[in-house]
Every structure is written in C-alpha cells, then in structure tokens.
C-alpha cells in the first residue's frame, strides 16, 4: 500500500540558515504522526512545506502518490488547522465552513451536505449562525477543524492547535482529536512542543532538533528506548536521571565511583574498551524498599526533598554526588532525612556514548 505522505531529501534554507536538512519521511495511510520538538527546531516549517505554504530549497513531497512539490496548497489534498484558529472573523461559522467550497464553485446541496456532516461530527450544529467572536476557544478550534473536514481530504495538518488553550481545555480537546482520528481514519500530521500531546495522540513521533529528525518511532519506543541523549532528555517529565561515567564491558562506573553492573542491558553492539558514557534511568523505573532490593542494582540513599503531587510522590535524593529523582505511590510514607533502599534494572534504562550521544 503506498504511503499517504512521503518526503524525499527535503531541505529548506532561509538565506544561509539551514532550517531543514535532507529530511526523509514516510507516513502511512491513516497514521497519526506527531512532529515534536522545541521552538525553532523546524517542525512548523516542515508542516508548512508539506502544506505548500513554503517553497522548499531542495527535495520532493508526495501526497497520495502524487508529486505535489510544485502544487498550490489547494491542490494537494490537505486541510490545515492553525494555532490561532484563523477563522474568518466577519463570517458566521456556517460561512467559514462553506466559503472555500463555494469559491471553488461547488453545488449548493453538496456544500450543505458537507457542512452538515462536519457540524455533526464536531458537534457544532448549534453554533452555525454565530460569529467567531462569540465562540469559546474550544468551539473556535472545532470550527477550525471543521473547515479542514469539509474539504474531504485525506491528509489533515495540525499546527500546534492546542497551544492557545488553557490546560483543562487542552486535555478535553486532545481526547476529541483522538476520537476524531478513530472515526475518520485520515492521515494526520500534528505539530506540537508538548510531549504529553505527542505521547497520547501519536501512532509515531518524529522528534526534531535543528531541522533534523532525531528519532522516528512509536511513543513506547521513544519513551523507553530513546535513540540519543537529546530525545532522552526531551521526553519524560520529570527528566530522566543521567549519570556520567565510564563503561567497560558490562560495568558502568559513575564519575564519583558508584559501580553499576549493566549486564542485563540490551546493547546494540558490543563496545570495545572503556568509553565515556552516560547512563539514564527514568524516575518511575527506580523502585523503593523491598522492590528495590530485588533489582540488579540497589543502593541506600537519604531522602532530601519530598514533593507530593497528588497522584504520586516525587522524591529527591543523591547517588554519589548526583541528584536523583524517583517516583513512588502517594500512599507510601517517606520523609526528608529518611534512609531508604532504591534500585533499578539497567535493562529499563538507557546507555549513551558520551562522545556521540547515541544509544549504545
């Protein structure tokens, strides 16, 4: 089955600044892919290139098997949802949805049918006569999605659509977008800097930095087997604990002397000789008390700070000289100054080469 969207060797330069560098990407039909990264990493730029709003410096874009590199946005078979919704302010919701179709010369009953269908899917039927100024943020976003829906296209593009909303609204709309994807089964390309959105919505995530895709995998893999230090640090809140040190064979020695045996770790290739490395362990993979004692590596540590977060508790401690955080259930009683046994299985951790920052 051919890919829904393909990108070949895409590059984009603004003057001498290389914004996107030789990108290759294949997106399958009906896939929900998220472009994730901080501001300036090129994710929005890539989306705009796919949409046809920006001219690329080199490379090709294929949508539905057709080479669309030189085509106008309207001919690419895409619909787009913007961060600021970009609804036409002086038109009612109904006109916002139907304007593009009528300009294209579509027949009246076809226009009405499409508008009605979109309104029903997004539950905005009671809003059709209102102007955008009289809508709430969430309603506006749904109308923006509706505008893409009526175009009856295969590919939907989302440019940080939830960034302008408050936290509660964001999580509500996130679920709605996921439901929408289940119902419509369209290909969706979604840009965000919010890792929660990425992890919850995506079939695959492309983590981007400086115009280059760092890792392209499903959320589980990205979370548990990040391909380099950058991805490991970007994903996961609170951040992964990173220990610098030396790796020799299957023994990792931290900079301040703690020795950790890592023979349970799944190395991609055996390393020769001692190398500088970084061992990363996520806070939630660190166990406490009895569970810790059963782990391949465990150590006694003193609790420095306890941060109860309601659903669970975050604790700060030290291994050697390195600050370490770990999570435990909120029912567990721990307090500052308490000595506890913590431990982890290196198999669930990640080891990176200090020099190349890649996963070993």
């Amino acid at each position: 089955m051919q890919n829904s969207v393909s990108i070949r060797d895409l590059s984009l330069n603004f003057g001498s600044v290389k914004v996107l560098q030789h990108l290759d990407l294949d997106i399958a039909q009906g896939e929900f892919i998220v472009l994730l990264g901080p501001s300036g990493c090129g994710k929005s730029t890539l989306l705009n290139c796919i949409a046809g709003l920006l001219d690329v410096s080199d490379g090709q874009i294929f949508i539905g098997g057709k080479n669309v590199t030189w085509l106008e946005p309207k001919d690419r078979g895409i619909g787009m949802v913007f961060q600021s919704y970009a609804l036409y302010p002086q038109m009612t919701v109904e006109r916002n949805l139907s304007f593009g179709l009528r300009v294209a010369g579509m027949k009246k009953d076809e226009v009405e049918r499409r508008v009605a269908r979109a309104a029903e899917i997004l539950q905005i039927e009671p809003l059709l006569d209102r102007k955008p100024a009289n809508l709430s943020g969430g309603q506006r976003q749904r109308v923006a999605i509706g505008r893409a829906l009526v175009r009856d296209v295969d590919v939907f593009l989302f440019d940080e659509p939830l960034s302008n909303l408050d936290a509660k609204l964001r999580s509500d709309l996130r679920v709605e977008i996921k439901r929408l994807h289940h119902r419509l089964k369209n290909t969706m390309i979604y840009v965000t800097h919010d890792q929660i959105e990425a992890l919850t919505l995506a079939d695959r995530i492309a983590v981007m930095k400086n115009g280059v895709i760092q890792q392209l995998s499903d959320p589980h893999t990205i979370y548990n087997k990040p391909v380099n230090l950058y991805v490991a640090g970007f994903i996961g809140s609170p951040q992964m604990n990173m220990f610098e040190g030396t790796l020799e064979g299957t023994t990792f020695t931290t900079a301040d002397g703690t020795v950790v045996s890592v023979d349970t770790y799944d190395f991609a290739a055996p390393s020769n000789g001692p190398i500088q490395a970084v061992l990363g362990v996520r806070p939630e993979h660190i166990a406490l008390g009895e569970a810790a004692a059963a782990m391949p590596f465990s150590i006694d540590a003193e609790i420095e700070i306890v941060e109860p977060m309601g659903s669970d508790t975050l604790a700060w401690t030290k291994i050697g000289n390195k600050a370490v955080t770990f999570r435990c259930d909120s029912d567990v009683v721990i307090e500052t100054g308490q000595m506890v046994r913590i431990g982890f299985d290196p198999a669930r951790g990640s080891i990176f080469s200090a020099e190349t920052t890649n996963r070993l």
Binding site: A51, L53, E72, M80, F82, A86, Y88, V103, R151
Partner: protein, 312 residues
C-alpha cells in the same frame, strides 16, 4: 493621596475644610498641571463655540454689538448665491475627495502589500506631499494647470493641438482641479493608514485562505476588507474633518475663482468676518459649518461609543 495642607487664610472661620474644599484640594498638583487644558476647554472649545452661536443670531456688522434678530442672518445666508455655491462646491468636492482618497489609498496599499521590492522608496514618494503646506500644493498645481505655460501649453507646443487642461480657468471644471491637488496631497496619508490596517491582518488568516483555495483578490474583498472596518472608519473621519476645513488650498490654487465657482464655506466665513464687514453673516456661516460637522459626528460617535457604554 497628594493632599497638601494649605495654611488657613486670615479671616477663615472654618476649622475643618468644607466638602467642596476637600474635593478641590484632593490631587491638587495634577489639577494645577491640567489647568491649561481645563481653561482651554472651557474658554475656547466651549466658550467660543457658544459665543459664535449666540452672536450669529444678531445683526452685528463691524463689531459684535448688534441686537438679537433671530434667524435673519441665516435667511440671508441661504439667499446668497455665494454661500449656496460654496456649500454645493464643498459637497461635490467632499464626496469625490472622500471616495477617491479611500479608493486610491486602498489600492496603493494593496499593491505595496504584495511583497514588492522598493517598498520604502514608493512609500517615501507617495507620502512626501503630505508634508507640504496646502499653500505650496495649491501654488504648484496652479502653475501646472496654467493654460498657456503649464501642462496644456506644453502639450500644445509639443504637437498635441487639442490637449485641454485649463480647468483652473473653467468654472465647470475648477473643482476637479482642486480635487487633483487635494488628492495629490492626501492619498499618501490614506495609503499609509490602509497599509497599517492590512498589515494588522493575521498571517494565519492568509494561510487559511490559501489552503481553502481562495484567490488573492477574493481574499481581499471578502475577508480582509471586512476586517478593516476600524481603519476605514478612522480614515473617513480624518479625511472628512479635513474636507470641511478646506481653505488654504482654495486660497492658493484659485482664490475662489473663476468668479465664485470654487468658493468654499471656510472662505466665505473668513471673507465676511474680516473683510466684508458683516460679522453676523460670518458667524452664521461658521455656525452652519459647525452644524454640518455635528450632524456627521453624532451618528459616528453613537456607533463608536454608544453601544459599549461610555468609554474613558
């Protein structure tokens, strides 16, 4: 909170400042600082206006000492052909000027908005006339429209025997001469306003329209222009208020001529007030100008401020 304690004046019997005094003393430095504004408002903007209106109902000639004669001055006013011609001239000029200034200003702004090069050069060229005095504008165009030695003369000398551009000497066309000069000066300003309004349109709206497949011209007409209502209203108000005051340009370009074919109310007022020896007439004419402005302003003020309650 800026209360200052004033020493009691000799003879004052109060041992606690009265409510009125406290109101006056509160925030005193600000009130003193704002005194020029308050005096100006009361004396000039309120006082002079009322004075003018009142004395327009008298038969003052050389000095404003005449007795009350009701609307006699106004009756004379509307019977004077000079005044009536002034009014129709102003209306004709005003309507045409408003329409053309807005249209030309808008078109130029749209063209400049098309991501062209040399934008600041074009803008500099279009806006410099606005920096000039109306007198300078009027005199330059007076020279250009000079029938024998100006544009007409030049074109005829170059071979185009039938070229006509003697509007300044032609009673039926002289208003258009004024129009050309006025537009020359005012369109650049309108263009700058419109351009600012166009640039205020969110980039993402343009993107959305492009994705929807809406052609550029249609985007301007159906989406951008309706969004520019505020700028349009501002432009209309400013251009409008400038039109009512039309005076310097007429004095320089035509001095009301030929005959009275380019007379305007502002000039009528000045002539009768200062050289015609009939102050009452001048005041009546001035009051009529005031009235016309109020008639235009009140609907606008209601639209702007009435719906949302009083604005500070």
């Amino acid at each position: 909170m800026a209360d200052t304690a004033l020493p009691l004046e000799a003879g004052a019997k109060v041992n606690r400042p009265s409510l009125l005094k406290r109101i006056i003393l509160h925030n005193l430095p600000a009130k003193i600082a704002a005194l020029p504004m308050m005096v100006t408002v009361l004396v000039v903007f309120v006082g002079c206006t009322l004075w003018t209106i009142y004395y327009s109902f008298t038969n003052s000639k050389l000095l404003p000492t005449g007795k009350f004669v009701g609307i006699e001055q106004y009756e004379r006013l509307f019977a004077t052909s000079r005044w009536n011609v002034s009014v129709t001239n102003l209306i004709t000029y005003g309507v045409l000027s408003l329409i053309f200034t807005l249209v030309v200003g808008f078109i130029l702004a749209v063209l400049i908005d098309q991501k062209i090069r040399f934008e600041s050069a074009f803008r500099t060229i279009m806006l410099y006339p606005f920096a000039l005095s109306f007198i300078v504008t009027g005199l330059v165009w007076q020279w250009i429209i000079n029938p024998t030695l100006g544009l007409q003369g030049t074109m005829r000398n170059l071979g185009w025997e039938n070229f006509t551009f003697d509007w300044i000497a032609n009673p039926r066309m002289v208003l258009y001469a004024l129009l050309i000069a006025g537009l020359w000066q005012g369109t650049g300003f309108c263009m700058v306003l419109m351009l600012a309004g166009l640039r205020g349109v969110d980039e993402e709206i343009w993107k959305a329209a492009r994705i929807d497949g809406i052609p550029t011209w249609r985007t301007y007409v159906s989406i951008v222009v309706p969004m520019m209502r505020g700028v349009m209203v501002t432009a209309v108000v400013i251009i409008g208020s400038g039109i009512v005051r039309l005076y310097d340009l007429v004095v320089a370009l035509t001095n009301g001529g030929p005959g009275i074919s380019s007379e305007v109310p502002a000039k009528y007022v000045y002539n009768y007030m200062f050289s015609g020896g009939n102050i009452g007439q001048g005041l009546a004419a001035a009051t009529m100008m005031l009235l016309s402005v109020i008639i235009i302003l009140i609907p606008w003020a209601y639209l702007e401020f009435g719906g949302k309650g009083r604005r500070t």
